[in-house]
């Protein structure tokens, strides 16, 4: 039994940078519990000696020639940003004190 409380949802939402309403805390607590319960039976398979698969087609150390090529024009990239200023992405404040 994987019990998921409102506090658990609030913690997960915080880790994932998701704001949630009170109603969402209730809704998601119930739904996440049902989903996690239904997937928990992967643990029933005895697989301690089985190597994990991270990728279906194992390719390692894929490289390509280190050649100069054109990059995207900065103005095209910044045009897609929600806010830009002086040729840069403009971000909300990242320090504690209000601006």
């Amino acid at each position: 039994m994987t019990a998921i409380s409102r506090d658990d949802v609030a913690h997960l939402a915080h880790l994932a940078r998701l704001a949630v309403t009170d109603e969402e805390l209730d809704l998601f607590a119930g739904q996440l519990e049902v989903i996690l319960e239904s997937v928990a039976h992967v643990a029933d398979v005895a697989a301690d000696d089985i190597p994990p698969t991270t990728h279906a087609v194992p390719l390692t150390n894929v490289t390509r020639p280190d050649r100069l090529g054109p990059s995207l024009p900065p103005e095209e990239v910044l045009a897609a940003a929600p806010a830009a200023e002086g040729g840069r992405f403009r971000v909300p404040r990242i320090l504690d004190e209000p601006a």
């Binding site: 880790l15 969402e24 992967v42 698969t53 404040r93």
Partner: protein, 506 residues
């Protein structure tokens, strides 16, 4: 709509390309006929999120100019296509079905977009989808659901439901989907189309908005096996811009589709997977689906194939493993939607900090299913839970691949129903995430193993299409096409016409 334009929209892609290359129809006329069809039917279907009439007509004009100049045309030049909105298109809004990307104009083309354009294929517009490809009905789109051309009260499958509805409804001759857990095969099955998930790494993922990077794979939809194979060959092949792209030749899928249409499968060993709708495992499978599957197996026998039963004991864990692996990877991939580089920003009042703006933006921009999966993934990757959930799911993935290897030692291809039920009614599963996940029951094993699989129509149950899934070993995509073409030609001959001729919307 005139008879002539109806005639153009009901042709196969191969037929349209032949008409254009022979000068019997212009690419502009073909494109206009499809734009007219979209104008008259897409109000009811909502297959497209946006139609690029101007871009389509100008690409069509370029094909016509090329032909007049005597330049060689590719095998699909001038054929109109519906492109899933998860694939980025330079200068054309791309949202992946999410409000968080509303209004985003990509500054570059995906590799498959470039290959489609280079082949002279006409991109009509971008199709609706479950948000970030998370879903099996297209109801999780941030922009409203798509409806099934066979019955407007039913879903067209998902997540590539806009593309499946567009091709089944003759709004486009070809479609592109992406398949992470079944999102090409399941919508193909429930709309009466052919849909193929290529071997993982067979088609470039450069320029696809990532959902679950170890599973995502783009692939073709068509109304016939040959059309689907022609589109597969156009988009497949090694791409240095995608480090997961396989540096080997593209399997000969077009030749296999042509050879298979001859209908002789003598000597081919076909494995019926006991755990996927085989004897004794009919829980959740509709009787109509199982009887259509049994008839398809009979057809394979009549064509000379040898039927063997195979058991893949770990397939029963595929759903659980998938719904840990995919959300885990999604929670990481979707961290890029940070309200800084592209898309929506909410709550930036000069007082709130970045973390809070990010959280408010993601709350406003993501739908419920995306939020659920991000939190499931965050949970499964947390310290203390990682081994029991994500780590164990990856071990199960190994066991599923071993089941496939063992099964392919005794069979050349494996078959199952593509999905346990016919298209379900809109709204039937939106409140029950687990019921929605069950739509992918049959398609998940091949997703986890990275092996190729195709869905081809096996008939109707209660007036709605049923799909036969044919699975093959890694890089043996051509076997899927060969067997699918043989089944298609046998069933078309028996019926006297292609299944899609029975689509009610006109």
């Amino acid at each position: 709509m005139t008879d002539q334009s109806t005639a153009l929209t009901s042709q196969t892609a191969a037929q349209i390309a032949a008409l254009i290359s022979a000068g019997e129809a212009s690419a502009v006329d073909v494109t206009q006929a499809h734009l007219d069809r979209i104008a008259s039917t897409d109000g009811a279907l909502h297959a497209f999120l946006r139609v690029d009439a101007e871009g389509a007509l100008s690409a069509a004009q370029a094909v016509d100019d090329k032909r007049k100049a005597g330049e060689p045309l590719g095998p699909l030049a001038g054929v109109p296509l519906a492109l899933k909105d998860v694939v980025v298109t330079k200068g054309l809004e791309t949202t992946s079905g999410s409000k968080i990307l509303s209004g985003w104009i990509p500054p570059y083309d995906a590799t498959i977009t470039s290959r489609i354009k280079d082949a002279g294929i006409i991109i009509l517009g971008k199709t609706n989808m479950d948000e970030f490809a998370m879903g099996s009905s297209t109801e999780n789109s941030g922009f409203g659901p798509t409806r099934n051309p066979w019955n407007l009260d039913r879903v067209p499958g998902g997540s590539s439901g806009g593309s499946s509805a567009a091709v089944a409804g003759s709004l486009a001759a070809l479609g592109i989907g992406t398949d992470t857990g079944g999102s090409i095969r399941q919508p193909a099955a429930v709309t009466g189309l052919v849909g193929h998930k290529p071997t993982y790494g067979g088609v470039s993922r450069y320029g696809l908005i990532a959902f679950s990077s170890s599973l995502d794979q783009a692939g073709p939809f068509g109304r016939t096996v040959l059309d689907t194979a022609l589109l597969h060959e156009t988009i497949a092949g090694h791409d240095p811009a995608d480090s997961t792209s396989i540096p080997s030749p593209v399997p000969p899928v077009v030749a296999a589709a042509r050879a298979g249409a001859g209908g002789d499968l003598t000597g081919l060993r076909v494995g019926v997977v006991r755990e996927l709708g085989g004897q004794g495992f009919d829980d959740g499978y509709e009787p109509g689906v199982l009887s259509s599957f049994a008839q398809a197996v009979d057809v394979l026998t009549e064509l000379g194939a040898e039927i063997v039963e195979v058991s893949c004991p770990h397939f029963g864990y595929a759903l659980a493993a998938y719904y840990l692996i995919a959300p885990s990877e999604a929670s990481s991939n979707l961290a890029r939607f940070d309200a800084v580089r592209y898309g929506m920003r909410v709550g930036d009042d000069g007082i709130r900090g970045l973390d809070e703006v990010m959280a408010l933006t993601r709350q406003a921009g993501f739908g419920a299913e995306v939020k659920r999966r991000i939190m499931i993934g965050t949970y499964a990757l947390s310290s203390g839970y990682y081994e029991a959930y994500y780590g164990q799911a990856q071990r199960v993935r190994t066991l599923i691949s071993r089941d496939f290897e063992a099964a392919f030692a005794g069979a050349d291809v494996l078959v199952s129903p593509s999905t346990p039920t016919v298209a379900f009614p809109l709204g039937a599963r939106t409140e029950d995430p687990l019921a929605m996940y069950a739509a992918d029951l049959c398609t998940l094993p091949a997703s986890l193993a990275g092996t190729p699989a195709i869905s081809v129509p096996s008939g109707l149950a209660d007036g709605l299409p049923v799909g036969l899934q044919i699975m093959a070993p890694t890089l043996a995509d051509d076997r899927c096409y060969r067997v699918a073409a043989a089944v298609e030609s046998a069933l078309d001959a028996r019926r006297g016409h292609p299944l899609l001729q029975e689509v009610p919307i006109r």
